[in-house]
């Protein structure tokens, strides 16, 4: 079956996941990935306000849904995640490996979301992840008009999962 054919018969985004369902979907997918690949349990966190700096891994969804998914955390949280994945001390890991690990986390969580959406009749494609690191930056998808966030915690450090969607 080609992508064109399946898109023509795909269900609408609202049928696949109503707005209130996106945050729960991200949390479920993230918990699965962290449990299996990071060896740690993510728990819900109560974090408010705009987060700046740190490291962000992001990738695009094309099709239904269409938008940008991202994972954002502090550098020390990203290093701790990479350390757990590789069984290494976070202080010993080069920056490249820390970014690579967060990119893979983003890829796997997005993949896990995609599998859940596919089960519900969605058909979308994912791009390869991009990772940004800095002290003062914001990431924004210009074509998107709705956004959903889920704040989680691993070993006391916040990890934010964010989805911006285009109507």
């Amino acid at each position: 079956m080609s992508v064109t054919e399946s898109t023509a018969t795909a269900r609408t985004e609202a049928e696949i996941a109503p707005d209130q369902g996106w945050s729960a979907l991200m949390a479920e997918a993230a918990q699965e990935v962290f449990e299996v690949m990071v060896g740690g349990k993510l728990t819900p966190a109560d974090i408010c306000g705009q987060h700046q700096g740190g490291v962000t891994a992001m990738l695009g969804f094309a099709g239904v849904p269409c938008g940008v998914f991202s994972v954002r955390c502090s550098w020390s949280a990203a290093a701790a995640i990479a350390g757990r994945m590789l069984g290494a001390s976070p202080e010993e890991l080069p920056a490249e490996q820390v970014c690579d690990a967060l990119g893979e986390i983003c890829n796997m969580v997005a993949g896990s979301i995609k599998v859940r959406l596919s089960d519900a009749g969605s058909n979308c494609m994912m791009s390869i992840p991009t990772v940004v690191r800095g002290v003062d930056y914001q990431v924004r998808c210009l074509a998107c008009d709705r956004c959903f966030s889920t704040a989680m915690e691993l070993d006391g450090q916040a990890v934010i999962f964010h989805l911006e969607l285009q109507s």
Binding site: M1, S6, E32, V33, V36, M37, A82, M85, L86, G87, E96, Q97, D100, A101, G103, E104, N107, M108, A110, G111, S112, K114, V115, S118, M126, I128
Partner: protein, 128 residues
């Protein structure tokens, strides 16, 4: 089972290390491990080296995993070598596409060493 020579193909170096560790944790002895960051690099390795197993991601820059598996058939060194896809793409459509391209197994990320064992071991036993 004797130790094997494996080729791991993934654009993430972290994931290549995790796949290697999972093979070892699954009790699969590794005599030598070759790594490639995309399908094109992997084809170059297969032209020069004999391997017993290939584990490949699908979504990669330069040459993706599906095109890589299609082109393996043209390499004499690699004929009959089992290829297992390890990818985040878990839809039935992707599995069917990978198998029709020549892959012999399919593991979805995230994965455990037990899942690697379950998919890889039978292929090595048949080949060996």
């Amino acid at each position: 089972m004797a130790s094997i020579r494996a080729l791991i193909v993934d654009d993430s170096g972290v994931m290549r290390k995790i796949v290697e560790r999972s093979l070892r944790q699954a009790g699969i002895g590794l005599d030598q491990v070759f790594e490639a960051g995309n399908g094109s690099e992997a084809l170059d390795i297969l032209r020069r080296q004999r391997v017993d197993l290939v584990l490949s991601d699908i979504n990669m820059p330069v040459m993706d995993g599906l095109e890589f598996v299609r082109q393996i058939a043209g390499i004499e060194n690699a004929r009959g070598v089992p290829v297992v896809m390890i990818t985040t793409e878990g839809s039935e459509q992707h599995v069917v596409e990978a198998i029709s391209c020549g892959a012999r197994g399919y593991i979805r990320k995230p994965f455990t060493p037990d899942q690697v064992k379950e998919h890889v071991l039978p292929l090595l036993e048949v080949a060996g």
